[in-house]
């Protein structure tokens, strides 16, 4: 167990996997000489060479589509979208091609590729560089979806994703790269299983990616005020571990879902439905969704921060749910 940043853990996952599996290649804008826009692949060009760490032109549809074809023919490509917002130009290749090829072709082939991207707010990067678009991906059958919130998960989930037979969309968070934490490479992966990051008895808080940390901080504060919240980190949204979430809510009777994506039509709605379907007769209150406002992300730092959940608002909402 060592201390690492989220960024370094991702790099380690890629590097360890590439050392073990010669079929893995990275491709994307600036992944090579520049070391990645968020420095995730820094130094990897030097170790693995330009044949395996491929700087692409600014052609997301093209290179994501090439990753699809490469994945069908012996490579295991890791394509990087610099911002998840750029899904807009590459969505056909992900949702119509990568996701459907195995099924459409009757199981003849698979598309073992990864699409890495990063999303979320925190840099005043504006409406086209700050989105959380996981809901688009979660809706499409055939796409796995991982959203690590911790350093160890950044490593474990990415390494495991690199062994799967299917396309995995792997969404990092721009505000987590510099975050440090314990990196335990030998921890069991438990792919597709949620983790209870903090056990509690009165309220289940469900989240993923960066918001997990907001939730844990909020739960600490709530604990200090005598309110005992359980915090569940989903880790992957496909597979979605409905069982762990439902079991927790059956225990606590109350659920707060926290997501950085827009409220309407977002992941929080899916989770709310899953909870109501799984724990209906145990619910003391309706599952509550604390998600991003239904507005584009503004660039003003104050407005940007106000557009997404905060620790304070998680605490305040928990209080309301617990009628305190």
């Amino acid at each position: 167990m060592v201390e690492s940043t989220y960024r370094d853990a991702l790099r380690e996952a890629l590097s360890d996997a590439m050392r073990a599996d010669p079929s893995i290649v990275l491709l994307g804008e600036e992944v090579g000489a520049y070391g990645g826009a968020y420095a995730v692949s820094k130094g990897m060009l030097a170790e693995f060479g330009a044949r395996r760490v491929i700087d692409t032109p600014i052609s997301e549809a093209g290179f994501v589509g090439m990753a699809v074809g490469a994945a069908m023919t012996g490579l295991r490509p890791v394509a990087e979208l610099m911002y998840v917002d750029f899904l807009g130009v590459a969505m056909d290749q992900i949702a119509n091609q990568a996701a459907k090829i195995r099924y459409m072709f009757g199981g003849q082939t698979g598309v073992p590729m990864i699409l890495r991207a990063q999303g979320g707010t925190g840099r005043s990067a504006g409406a086209q560089h700050s989105q959380s678009l996981e809901a688009w991906i979660m809706h499409i059958p055939g796409l796995r979806l991982a959203m690590p919130g911790t350093v160890t998960d950044a490593y474990l989930l990415l390494r495991h994703a690199l062994t799967l037979p299917d396309p995995v969309v792997f969404l990092e968070h721009k505000s987590l790269y510099a975050r440090t934490g314990d990196l335990d490479k030998s921890a069991p992966v438990h792919w597709g299983k949620a983790i209870i990051r903090r056990p509690g008895s009165q309220l289940t808080i469900v989240s993923y990616s960066r918001m997990i940390h907001f939730c844990l901080e909020a739960a600490e504060q709530l604990g200090g005020e005598g309110m005992d919240a359980e915090v569940i980190d989903l880790r992957t949204l496909n597979p979605l571990d409905r069982e762990t979430v439902v079991a927790s809510v059956r225990k606590t009777g109350r659920a707060l879902i926290v997501s950085e994506g827009h409220l309407t039509g977002g992941v929080a709605g899916e989770l709310s439905a899953v909870i109501t379907e799984g724990a209906f007769s145990y619910l003391e209150e309706p599952p509550i969704r604390l998600a991003a406002e239904d507005v584009p992300v503004p660039v003003s730092p104050a407005l940007e921060a106000a557009s997404i959940p905060s620790v304070e608002r998680i605490v305040a909402t928990a209080r309301k749910i617990l009628r305190r």
Binding site: G62, G74, P112, P165, E277
Partner: protein
């Protein structure tokens, strides 16, 4: 009858054309899965010419009008027809259909229903070949209409930039649905355009399968050496866009003229006769053999087992992965919660 190469090309093209004719029959007999059937009649030369220029181990992607290409690369017409019927014995187990026939063992990475969508797939296969040191060329087949999809140019640039073993084949049947090519593109010299992306560009007469094969062979040889190419083949879409389209947007006179001018099957027949390679009787033998083969394909498809309902949930994810939970089961669980 001599067993010449010229006759072989004739037979292959006739197989393509007859197959498509029988797809129409399958539809009329109610045996097809839906009516979105895009027939490649008139495009036998690019299919057979390029297919013949390819080697075993080469790969390709195609488009919504891809039947002939796959057939020319060695597909079993029975299993193709069964797929068009949406039957279990089809290449994709009846889940793909006419626009998504694929056969990995023959290098077919699949037909695609998104115009231009399969092009980067092929270039990705070329990237694999180069990266893994395999001697395999990848060919992307697409229509003239796809020249207006941006992803094609992104793919061209990367193929050229990285010197990939790739060939772009534009089957110019002069129409994208009801839009004649000059209403879709300001310039039509696409081979010159491809050159400005760094590809070797050539044009071939789609009535002449031997010319197509020659140009494709030159370009594939170049691609194998790391100089990717672009081939445009001038043809004509003999019939409507899809099986039911009656082409009201173009003149019958044009159709008659163009079909006469651009019929690769008839052209090859004339050539064989002119060169003394075959006499009328020879063609009758071939025609009968081909007709029998394709009739059998239709009967096979009609008799084929339907895809079982249980297949609905399979192959969404790979082997060993849990299938998606059926909706009804989730409803029952919710009502028990």
């Amino acid at each position: 009858m001599k067993n010449t190469r010229g006759l072989y090309l004739y037979r292959q093209m006739l197989r393509c054309r007859t197959f498509e004719d029988r797809v129409g029959e399958l539809f009329v007999r109610g045996g097809s899965a839906g009516s979105m059937l895009h027939l490649s009649i008139g495009e036998e030369a690019p299919a057979v010419g390029v297919a013949e220029a390819m080697a075993r181990g080469d790969r390709f992607t195609s488009h919504h009008r891809g039947h002939s290409i796959f057939l020319a690369r060695g597909a079993d017409p029975k299993r193709m027809m069964a797929e068009i019927a949406g039957a279990a014995d089809g290449y994709c187990g009846g889940k793909g259909g006419s626009m998504h026939i694929a056969g990995m063992d023959l290098g077919s990475l699949g037909a695609n229903a998104i115009v231009g969508g399969g092009v980067p797939t092929a270039i990705g296969a070329a990237l694999s070949a180069k990266t893994l040191g395999e001697d395999s060329v990848a060919v992307a087949f697409f229509g003239d209409g796809a020249m207006q999809q941006g992803v094609i140019y992104e793919s061209m640039n990367m193929a050229a930039l990285w010197k990939l073993p790739a060939l772009f084949v534009c089957i110019n049947n002069q129409y994208g649905m009801g839009t004649r090519i000059d209403r879709a593109s300001a310039r039509l010299d696409f081979e010159a355009r491809a050159e400005t992306f760094g590809l070797a560009g050539k044009r071939a007469n789609g009535a002449d399968v031997e010319e197509v094969e020659a140009r494709a062979s030159e370009l594939i040889a170049g691609a194998r050496r790391g100089s990717p190419g672009f081939l445009i083949v001038d043809c004509y879409r003999f019939h409507g866009h899809a099986r039911k389209d009656k082409s009201p947007y173009r003149e019958e006179a044009e159709e008659i003229e163009q079909r006469a001018l651009r019929d690769a099957v008839a052209f090859q027949k004339r050539r064989l006769v002119d060169h003394g390679e075959a006499v009328e009787g020879d063609f009758a033998v071939i025609d009968n053999e081909v007709a029998a083969e394709m009739n059998a394909a239709v009967e096979f498809a009609i008799a084929a087992a339907r895809t079982p309902l249980a297949a609905l949930y399979t192959d969404v994810y790979g082997p060993g992965e849990a299938p998606p939970a059926p909706v009804d089961g989730r409803i029952d669980a919710a009502l028990a919660s």
